[in-house]
């Protein structure tokens, strides 16, 4: 590796990428869950004016990039950003910025606090070295706005609906609005004469029924997180696989994420994405290993 190449790798590590224009760089900034303060935006604006060419580029991972920064200005620009608490993003074979939708803080469909989870994942894994790039996303519900299954690890809010007879007026609207037609009504022999049921195999654990029922007869039975592993887009796309459909505690989510992450670091070949490693070794083998380790881990406590 030449000195020049080594420098490029070092700069990439701190979120600075060489442009095709000699001596000019892209500064990739970090925004966990896509959040920046207005003050930070103002500072990014002034840095782009002063050291870039007065524009910014929005990345697909909720980040901002400042383009056309001359190599001599990288350090002063970085310091000016750091003054407002703006950190550099990540490039190369390491954990990238954690993306997240707004979650249950502001969205009617959100069932989990996506931003808190994204911040915790950021604190634990951001910029950790991996065999290839490694992307994590947190999305609040099955609408999947931040595309959990396009990421190496995706976490998606999930609910299991429960029908409460006492509130139901038998309007049958849920049978129609369920996006996957998982809700059915059937006649019964008891005094009620009817019952609504959800087919667990086709239910996608979204929150449409619990949010839209006019009389709140569909309530949240269990709430948790679906953990996906091995998603990627890029040259050889692969949709993520479900590691576990409903994980009820945050603690278990972090445990599973940690196991999956460690498994990839130990078994992934250089430049091999997590999902392709899973295909090479076998999904069932990987899942069995990860879920088994989690159970053992619990027993030790």
């Amino acid at each position: 590796m030449s000195d020049n190449n080594r420098d490029q790798a070092a700069l990439g590590k701190v979120g600075m990428m060489r442009q095709i224009q000699p001596e000019y760089y892209v500064m990739r900034l970090k925004a966990v869950a896509g959040d920046l303060t207005a003050r930070q935006l103002a500072r990014i604006s002034s840095v782009a004016e002063q050291y870039g060419r007065g524009f910014v580029h929005l990345s697909t991972r909720q980040g901002i990039e400042i383009h056309y920064v001359h190599q001599d200005n990288l350090e002063p620009a970085r310091l000016a950003l750091a003054e407002e608490g703006i950190e550099m993003g990540a490039c190369g074979p390491r954990v990238r910025s954690i993306v997240a939708c707004p979650g249950d803080e502001t969205c009617r469909w959100g069932v989990i606090d996506t931003k808190a989870m994204a911040r915790e994942l950021d604190a634990r894994y951001f910029k950790a070295e991996t065999p290839s790039k490694f992307k994590l996303a947190v999305t609040g519900c099955a609408h999947n706005c931040t595309k959990a299954n396009e990421n190496d690890i995706g976490i998606r809010g999930a609910i299991e609906p429960k029908w409460e007879r006492s509130s139901c007026t038998d309007c049958s609207l849920c049978v129609s609005f369920c996006p996957v037609k998982a809700i059915g009504r059937r006649e019964t022999d008891d005094s009620d004469g009817f019952q609504y049921e959800v087919d667990e195999n086709s239910c996608i654990n979204c929150s449409v029924c619990t949010s839209l029922c006019p009389t709140n007869a569909w309530v949240v039975g269990r709430k948790g997180y679906t953990v996906f592993i091995g998603g990627t887009m890029g040259k050889v796309p692969r949709f993520a696989s479900v590691l576990k459909r409903i994980v009820e505690t945050e603690e278990e989510v972090f445990d599973l994420v940690d196991k999956a992450f460690t498994c990839y670091r130990e078994n992934g070949l250089k430049k091999e994405r997590f999902g392709h490693m899973i295909d090479r070794i076998g999904l069932e083998n990987i899942k069995e290993g990860l879920l088994e380790v989690t159970v053992q881990h619990k027993k030790q406590r």
């Binding site: 309007c171 049958s172 609207l173 049978v175 129609s176 609005f177 996006p179 839209l212 006019p214």
Partner: protein
């Protein structure tokens, strides 16, 4: 629709997209008397979800629904209860 409810008339919102379908539904419901109900016919899928959401948010009440061909007929009133 065979129904014990006193339905004033019907609004056909098929083919309309959000937010026009939801706005028209709410306008029609707002014009009802306290004891009156209206039938709203809406496309299945996302249109149904949007219209139901708007009706719920406005504090109106859906009493009954009936699937039709590629659409749903819903019976709505202005008040939370019907006498």
């Amino acid at each position: 629709m065979k129904s014990p409810f006193n339905i004033k008339n019907s609004v056909d919102l098929r083919g309309l997209s959000c937010p026009v379908n939801a706005v028209r539904a709410k306008d029609a419901i707002a014009a009802l008397g306290d004891e009156e109900l209206i039938e709203v016919v809406v496309d299945e899928g996302q249109a149904l979800i949007n219209v139901v959401r708007s009706i719920n948010d406005a504090g109106y009440r859906i009493f009954k629904s009936e699937p039709r061909e590629n659409s749903i007929a819903i019976i709505v009133g202005r008040r939370k209860t019907v006498s």
